[in-house]
Amino acid sequence: MSEQRQPILPVRQALIRAGVALSGWVALSVTALPGGSPLRWAPVLLFVCFGPGLALLYPQPGAPGPGARLETAALAAPFGLSLAVLTATALFLVEAFSATAFLVSLAAFTTLVAALPGLPLPAATRGAVGRSRPRPGRRR
């Protein structure tokens, strides 16, 4: 949970984005495995908890501000679970609930937003008002 600001290489960023985008489809594919298997529930749980939230919050536009990584790590689950709650509730309201519909909706959303910049939370980026320019970070 180091708070040092380090520029993330575009290749690494692209790989992370691709991983997040694919995570939903992986979760969907493992539902073909027998029920109760850890190979089934673990990817599903990880995706529902973190997939949509990470896609929403990562990466931030511009260089990440102080605490941005901690913020992404902390808020990924609440944001992701909020979306999962809304998706599941909406599916029940329109009487179209099924595990496939639930996971496909979340996976499609995750894939879409993983291609976009992260949510513009201002204090975690350079955009906050009156903020002094970040000092050049020391690289390790």
Binding site: M1, S2, E3, Q4, R5, A27, T31, L33, P34, G35, G36, S37, R40, W41, V44, L45, V48, C49, P66, G67, L70, E71, A74, L75, A77, P78, F79, L81, S82, L83, A84, V85, L86, T87, A88, T89, L91, F92, L93, E95, F97, S98, A99, F102, L103, L119, P120, L121, P122, A123, A124, G127, A128, V129, G130, R131, S132, P134, R135, G137
Partner: protein
């Protein structure tokens, strides 16, 4: 236990500072190369102190597990069934945590691992060991998930008995779990519900850290606050229940508000290092109106989800946002209005039936502070274990409040900069004036106040690091805190155990009892009435949308004493004519009604005997775990 004098650490640039964390490794005076050589030659003692306690604690905990006699719990619950090695593992973890605090700024993963280990060690025992659902209320929520999966739709206006339609009116947590159950390919939430406290605790930890880092740059203070939160979270609201998820979302909203909704020009001297407490973080960078408006839009899905999940949390959230509006720093009426409108919109649409009913009863409950802050339905805790748990609960509340109060007196500059957190913690307290929330309001207010209280309690125990001039911490204070910190953490640990596990006999239900109840309820025709002394037994609400319920002993003790004089007549005269009614009396009900003081000693046995002997009732099934009777009428 080891006692470590806290070493000044204010590492990390997160929060607001912009200062780089101190370089880990050797002191600046030592040549780097020779230090590397030394490190190769001998293991780093600090590193050893970091991982060895984890390893030892895990070994002790693992060794203790097979020796925990949870099936033979007596009146002290799990307390006297946990072997010494279990308690030793907790002490070793505490010592290890204190050791890792020394390097909290440069190696935050070690305290993080210790905090996660503490959570698992404290709350993982039932998850690993129990062969049935822990806590009857969790099995009630399992029944709600089954109900949604069976129906495939939401029926908020169905008007089920016992206000069970409320779960269709605030269904978010249950629809989410329905999705998980189906996606896991599980038979029901029962397969994983005992793990809920661990999962929710792990998800909540980074959110707490984020909030605490907003107000402190001192990692020792942050981790101590997280540790205290774990120990003080005995209140048992983190089982498979909407409020656990709702609290997580509530804290996430609070974290975003605290970090991204600072008004320009409001920080004043709180940006000056000369004024701030050495442990305090400067106020986060301010944001313009447009940026805050964007943040409101970003928060809308979380706010809607909070409303979808739980009826009380949006009220707590609005109270918190209102309290934050009292400060110049966080005066954001727009966000408060949006949160209020979303709550109102949900209450007037999906939640309309219960919302209007609650409004109707508000006139009675408004201002009844003593009654609203009472725990439970009625009765006094009875028996050695429950009474110990009750006393421990009170002592824990007072201990956390006393520690937090000490910080309010001694760390006034830290309190000034962290005032929004203090207000957020105090905001739910006025809800005592409004409603008793079915005897649960006390626990909910405590739960929502706890994140802030834990921060200030930690501030009382971890003195400011490296202060000079006006901020200089006297050596005597450091010496006192070097003793007070470990003593307090061990004392809180000692308080947690009876608070959380003192009434565990009520929470563990043998699978055979669950099977008995399931058979009885499956046997009942649609529309039948299920009678039991209390709803606190496993699968009490299985098929709840097809049956009616009457938990006839959930009332004041004097009325129950009157009922016990002739229970068969008491029940028969109150049943509707031609009712198809079943009475289910189980061991867990016996434990619960005795422990919560709903029935006098021997009352449950007498009730079972009298109903069994009455010609008005016929025994359908009797096992060692309970009896099922059918009402046959006169």
């Amino acid at each position: 236990m080891q006692q470590h004098v806290p070493v000044p650490v204010t590492g990390g640039a997160a929060g607001s500072g912009g200062t780089e964390p101190p370089e880990p490794g050797p002191p600046a005076t030592a040549p780097r190369a020779s230090s590397r050589l030394r490190r190769r030659a001998a293991p780093d003692p600090q590193l050893l102190l970091s991982w060895l306690p984890l390893l030892v604690a895990a070994a002790l905990w693992g060794h203790a597990l097979p020796h925990i006699g949870f099936r033979s719990m007596g009146e002290y619950g799990l307390l006297d069934r946990l072997p010494v090695t279990y308690y030793l593992s907790l002490l070793v973890l505490t010592a290890g945590f204190l050791a890792t605090l020394r390097r909290a700024g440069t190696a935050p993963w070690w305290p993080a691992l210790h905090c996660a280990a503490l959570l698992t060690a404290l709350k993982g025992v039932p998850a690993v060991l129990y062969d049935s659902e822990r806590y009857p209320w969790a099995s009630k929520h399992d029944a709600v998930i089954d109900h949604l999966l069976a129906n495939g739709e939401l029926r908020p206006s169905e008007g089920l008995s016992g206000n069970m339609s409320a779960y269709d009116q605030w269904p978010g947590f249950f629809t989410l779990n329905a999705g998980l159950v189906r996606a896991f390919g599980a038979d029901g939430a029962a397969t994983y519900l005992n793990w809920a406290p661990i999962v929710l605790g792990l998800l909540m930890m980074p959110v707490l850290i984020l909030i605490y880092r907003t107000f402190s740059e001192d990692w020792r203070l942050v981790w101590t606050a997280v540790w205290i939160f774990q120990l003080a979270n005995w209140v048992g609201q983190d089982y498979l229940a909407p409020q656990g998820l709702a609290l997580l979302l509530h804290l996430a909203v609070l974290a975003v508000v605290l970090r991204h909704f600072v008004r320009p020009g409001s920080a004043g001297r709180l940006r000056s290092r000369a004024y701030l407490d050495p442990a305090a973080a400067a106020v986060p960078p301010p944001t313009g109106t447009r940026q805050r408006a964007v943040c409101v839009v970003v928060l809308v899905p979380v706010l809607v989800a909070v409303n979808a999940v739980h009826q009380l949390t949006p009220v707590m959230l609005c109270a918190t946002l209102l309290a934050l509006n009292l400060t110049r720093r966080y005066r954001n009426p727009g966000l408060l209005v949006v949160a209020g409108l979303l709550m109102l919109a949900w209450d007037l649409t999906m939640g309309r039936p219960l919302f209007t009913e609650t409004l109707g009863t508000l006139r009675e409950s408004l201002g009844e502070i003593t009654r609203n802050s009472r725990a439970g339905y009625a009765g006094q805790l009875t028996g050695a274990g429950p009474e110990l748990a009750g006393r421990a609960n009170v002592v824990m509340v007072l201990a956390v409040a006393a520690l937090a109060g000490t910080a309010l007196l001694l760390r006034r500059r830290l309190v000034h900069s962290a005032l929004p957190l203090l207000l957020a913690s105090a905001a739910p307290v006025p809800l005592f004036v409004v409603n008793d929330y079915g005897g649960e309001m006390l626990f909910r207010v405590y739960l929502f106040a706890l994140p802030g209280a834990a921060f200030f309690a930690a501030a009382a125990l971890v003195p400011a690091a490296g202060g000079s001039g006006a901020h200089r911490v006297r050596p005597a204070v450091r010496r006192i805190s070097a003793v007070a910190l470990p003593v307090s953490l061990v004392a809180l640990l000692a308080g947690f155990m009876p608070s959380y596990y003192g009434k565990e006999q009520m929470n563990y239900t043998p699978p055979a009892e669950t099977a008995l109840v399931t058979r009885a309820i499956d046997r009942a025709p649609d529309g039948a009435l299920i009678l039991a002394t209390t709803g606190s037994f496993p699968r009490a609400l299985h098929r709840y949308d097809e049956l009616e319920h009457w938990f006839f002993a959930e009332q004041e003790l004097p009325e129950n004493v009157a009922m016990l004089k002739d229970p068969a007549h008491y029940l028969a005269t109150r049943l509707p004519p031609d009712a198809t009614a079943y009475v289910i009396l189980t061991r867990t009900q016996d434990v619960y009604t005795a422990g919560e003081g709903l029935l006098p000693p021997g009352g449950f046995a007498g009730l079972t005997r009298d109903l069994g002997a009455s010609p008005l009732f016929r025994v359908v099934e009797r096992t060692g775990h309970g009896v099922v009777l059918r009402y046959v009428g006169p």
